[in-house]
């Protein structure tokens, strides 16, 4: 018995020592020379090729009719092509569509497609694929499907001409097309399960598209291990141009754990970190040799959403008093360098942002003046204000505490409440349960101001977590609707500017700061996002065909 135990222990020890001593197949050097690595990896050349590895939060949906979050958006832009392509300045360029025209009434849009585009299986991309992709997205309705609710349908006029019919004119239709990813109709149909929720279309290929792609984009799926990683490889038949040293492989690694990310970064096994690293973790990453920190503009703004139906916040003077009493400079200083105080309800990176909008800054005299006009001025202690921050985002607490301290200076009692995200979603779904104030980050899905104005302040989108203000203002609704149906961009942007002025005057929210998207990255990565040459639209910072990896 003793001998067996001793032998087992020796064996275990030998295993551990040998395992620790063996070269790591993960590291590039080992892949080139290590016996273990080369024998373990039948295609070790794959490891040695130019790689872009990025950490991400799970899950990632690569079905264009399902995914819309950060990791899904970043995968989709690489796997699929769209009719138009977003530019860094918020405009769009022709992409699969070489040209287009619209009817006089703005209801019919006709697009002329490139004729040299191949899907990943080598088949040709035609107008029928575009119509199929649109109808599939609209029928399923998930992901970015909501952007096309005002479109009646799409038809293939001929092999390379596709026509969209709108229910009413829309200034957002053209920019929305950056979210219409074109699928290979034949391939999806061949992989569609007969049983499903979509009648004759069965499951519409949803099950298959969870782990496979049917796109024509610069990268194609090579291996998708759910919860672990998504590996994409360069599509040599892509019609577009890769930058020099574009990665041969792109790997999204499903982890955001600080210690793990730091280890991978230090070992040269990660090129770009996720955007969810804390400030402390980023500072540590920045100390690693060869690692830089990028602070990228984003379409995300941090708001304190004030419930305008709940006393004392139902009085505009009380709201303005709060807006004047808050210390924005301190709040901004708590964030990453480069962060700026927001100017009104629209992040400044969005097209149609109004740079001249009224912006509150800390002024206790003005706060006192406004407070004096508030109907609750003499009985503020009767109306304690609750500010709810999201428990899962610990960094938010310091902003809530700062608010509490600032409001104490003008005599408004504030209680700071930590609330789990699921409860926030539940509470903001009804006017009666919406708290006084919620602190939330909201992002825009399109590169201009209209959609976020609608999402934040229109009555149609009340009862969702993205607004706690409950303005329910018909005039404002009409103005937002009018702006969204204006096709001329300059005219539309002018209308957005007026709406921003109107909202800022009412102070239904405190506009804290425009978030910068923070990533650690290796200095051998030539990343257009850092130089401002990539659209901040969700996913396009990681458009790998434009990223050089000089390993």
């Amino acid at each position: 018995m003793k001998r067996i135990v001793a032998l087992s222990l020796l064996l275990l020890l030998a295993l551990l020592l040998a395992a620790c001593g063996a070269p790591a197949a993960d590291s590039g050097a080992a892949a080139d020379s290590g016996e273990s690595a080369s024998s373990a990896a039948p295609d070790a050349g794959e490891v040695a090729s130019r790689q872009l590895r990025v950490s991400f939060s799970w899950p990632t949906f690569i079905d264009p009719a399902v995914g819309s979050d950060f990791s899904s958006g970043s995968a989709l832009v690489n796997l699929y092509d769209t009719l138009v392509f977003p530019n860094p300045d918020g405009t769009i360029s022709p992409w699969l569509a070489e040209s287009w025209e619209t009817s006089d009434d703005g209801l019919t849009w006709t697009f002329h497609l490139r004729q040299d585009v191949q899907f990943h299986d080598g088949s040709n991309l035609t107008a029928s694929d575009v119509a199929y992709s649109f109808n599939r997205l609209q029928t399923i309705g998930e992901g970015y499907g909501y952007m096309f609710s005002g479109v009646d349908g799409a038809n293939a006029v001929d092999d390379y001409t596709v026509e969209f019919t709108l229910a009413e004119p829309s200034g957002l239709f053209l920019p929305s097309l950056v979210r219409l990813y074109i699928l290979n109709e034949d391939l999806v149909r061949a992989n569609t399960a007969a049983e499903g929720s979509y009648g004759d279309n069965g499951d519409f290929g949803k099950d298959w598209l969870l782990t496979n792609d049917a796109g024509s984009g610069p990268y194609k799926v090579a291996n998708f291990q759910l919860e672990e990683f998504l590996l994409m490889e360069k599509f040599d038949g892509w019609w577009g141009d890769f930058v020099e040293n574009a990665p041969d492989q792109v790997r999204f690694i499903a982890t955001t754990e600080a210690a793990t990310v730091r280890t991978l970064m230090s070992n040269g096994e990660l090129e770009i970190s996720d955007q969810w690293q804390s400030i402390n973790a980023l500072e540590n990453l920045g100390e690693l040799e060869g690692v830089e920190i990028a602070a990228l503009p984003s379409f995300t703004e941090f708001y304190f959403m004030l419930n305008t139906r709940l006393a004392p916040l139902d009085d505009v003077h009380c709201r303005r008093a709060m807006a004047y009493a808050f210390d924005y400079d301190t709040a901004v200083s708590l964030e990453w360098p480069g962060t700026q105080q927001s100017q009104g309800p629209v992040p400044r990176a969005l097209g149609g942002h109004n740079p001249d909008v009224m912006t509150f800054s800390m002024d206790l005299d003005k706060a006192a003046e406004e407070l004096a006009q508030c109907q609750y001025a003499d009985e503020l202690d009767q109306y304690p204000v609750e500010i709810h921050w999201i428990s899962e985002v610990p960094d938010e607490e310091k902003f809530a505490l700062l608010f509490q301290a600032n409001m104490a200076e003008i005599g408004i009692p504030v209680e700071v409440v930590s609330t789990p995200w699921l409860s926030v979603v539940e509470n903001t779904s009804a006017q009666e349960t919406s708290p006084h104030i919620v602190t939330i980050y909201v992002s825009a899905d399109l590169p201009e101001a209209g959609p976020i104005l609608k999402q934040r302040y229109h009555s149609d989108t009340a009862a969702t977590w993205s607004q706690n203000e409950w303005l329910l203002d018909e005039e404002l609704d009409a103005a937002i609707d009018d702006s969204l149906t204006t096709i001329d961009q300059a005219e539309r942007f002018a209308k957005y500017a007026e709406i921003q002025d109107q909202i800022a005057e009412e102070a239904p929210s405190l506009f804290i700061y425009d978030q910068v998207q923070k990533h650690a990255y290796q200095d051998y990565v030539d990343w257009p996002a850092v130089s401002g040459d990539a659209s901040p639209l969700n996913g396009y910072f990681l458009y790998a065909a434009n990223i050089g990896v000089h390993q």
């Binding site: 620790c20 790591a24 998930e142 919860e227 672990e228 070992n267 789990p420 989108t461």
Partner: protein, 342 residues
């Protein structure tokens, strides 16, 4: 025969335990705040998408009716669709459970081997310096959460020394072996692919060690106490008086009876480890069921929550059954037919 009757009785009891567990988790999952479908499809999805999905999942029916549907489908191995992965939950469990089981079994091997070794040494050198060192190690192991060990190990062995891989089940470029058991170590051995087997072992070491530390420490303490206690028994004194060597006393008369409390706790530790593995899985990017379950809870993924807890519950019941059988085999005073093991 006694053994078969015992197993039959325990399985019969287990059915009621698991049914009770199913009712509790079904109810708890549904009283959590938030509409799961709205959470899954996002705030901007049209209401009709939410309504359709709620209809498909029977969420508009009264809860007892929902439970009836769920029980009927679950009995056929169909746990519905996951709102997080959008796949059949049974498919997810089949994919992710082997990863967690492989990790937990590897951790069990490490913890049991380490515990027996440390426990025996400590008992043999009771109250000497080596016993004290093992005691301090054990206390540290018990009070330190496994995720702290995970972070420490990753920083030492992957970050500073770069000896072992930090994430995943296999290295870049190494293809998983054809799936038979879902255990990469076993599946790679089945096809004779030693390189992949070795790679899988290298990836298992750090997470398994992190997971094993607490149970190893606890089991070492229990083994040591049990052995030290048995050392004072009359039969040991008799053996010594008869001139039996210390080594023989240790392995022939002491180890087996002293193993009983250790084996009892190992079963509980193993089952608890399955559930507690989520942070370790998260840190090592290990695609296991524990991490999947945590994601499901954060996203109020009703079907996935029920399936994961039920899967762990079944393993818990089975492991306890196995432990009872083992303990009865180790201790002849315990009769299996007398109703229930220890």
């Amino acid at each position: 025969m006694n053994l078969l009757i015992f197993i039959g009785k325990r399985i019969f009891h287990a059915i009621f335990v698991i049914l009770g567990l199913a009712i509790v988790i079904f109810a708890v999952a549904r009283i959590m705040p938030g509409d799961p479908v709205r959470l899954a499809v996002g705030s901007r999805a049209p209401q009709w998408v939410v309504d359709n999905m709620r209809e498909q999942m029977h969420l508009n029916d009264p809860i007892p009716v929902q439970f009836g549907y769920w029980l009927r489908d679950a009995a056929q191995g169909d746990f519905g669709i996951s709102l997080v992965t959008r796949r059949n939950v049974a498919e997810d469990v089949r994919e992710f459970f082997p990863a967690t089981l492989e990790l937990a079994l590897f951790a069990l091997t490490i913890s049991l081997t380490g515990a027996l070794l440390l426990g025996t040494i400590a008992a043999r050198h009771k109250d000497k310096w080596i016993d004290n060192i093992i005691r301090i190690f054990s206390y540290l192991g018990i009070v330190t959460p496994s995720f702290v060990f995970a972070i420490i190990f990753i920083l030492i062995f992957a970050f500073a020394l770069d000896w072992l891989p930090a994430i995943g089940r296999l290295s870049n470029g190494v293809e998983p072996p054809p799936r038979v058991t879902g255990f990469y170590t076993i599946d790679s051995l089945l096809i004779g692919d030693l390189a992949t087997f070795w790679d899988a072992i290298r990836h298992l070491i750090l997470p398994a060690l992190a997971l094993a530390m607490a149970s190893m420490a606890q089991e070492a303490r229990i083994t040591r106490s049990s052995m030290a206690d048995n050392l004072t028994k009359d039969y040991i004194a008799s053996a010594r008086a008869l001139g039996v060597s210390e080594g023989l006393i240790m392995r022939r008369f002491l180890l087996k009876p002293s193993l009983i409390p250790t084996v009892s706790i190992v079963g509980m530790d193993f089952a608890a480890g399955l559930g507690n593995a989520f942070l370790v899985e998260l840190i090592f990017n290990w695609p296991g069921l524990s991490r999947y379950g945590m994601n499901a809870m954060l996203s109020k993924d009703l079907n996935a929550i029920s399936a994961v807890i039920l899967s762990f519950g079944i393993v818990f019941v089975l492991v306890n059954l196995l432990v009872d059988i083992l303990v009865a085999r180790l201790d002849p005073r315990i009769s299996l037919s007398a109703g229930g093991g220890s």
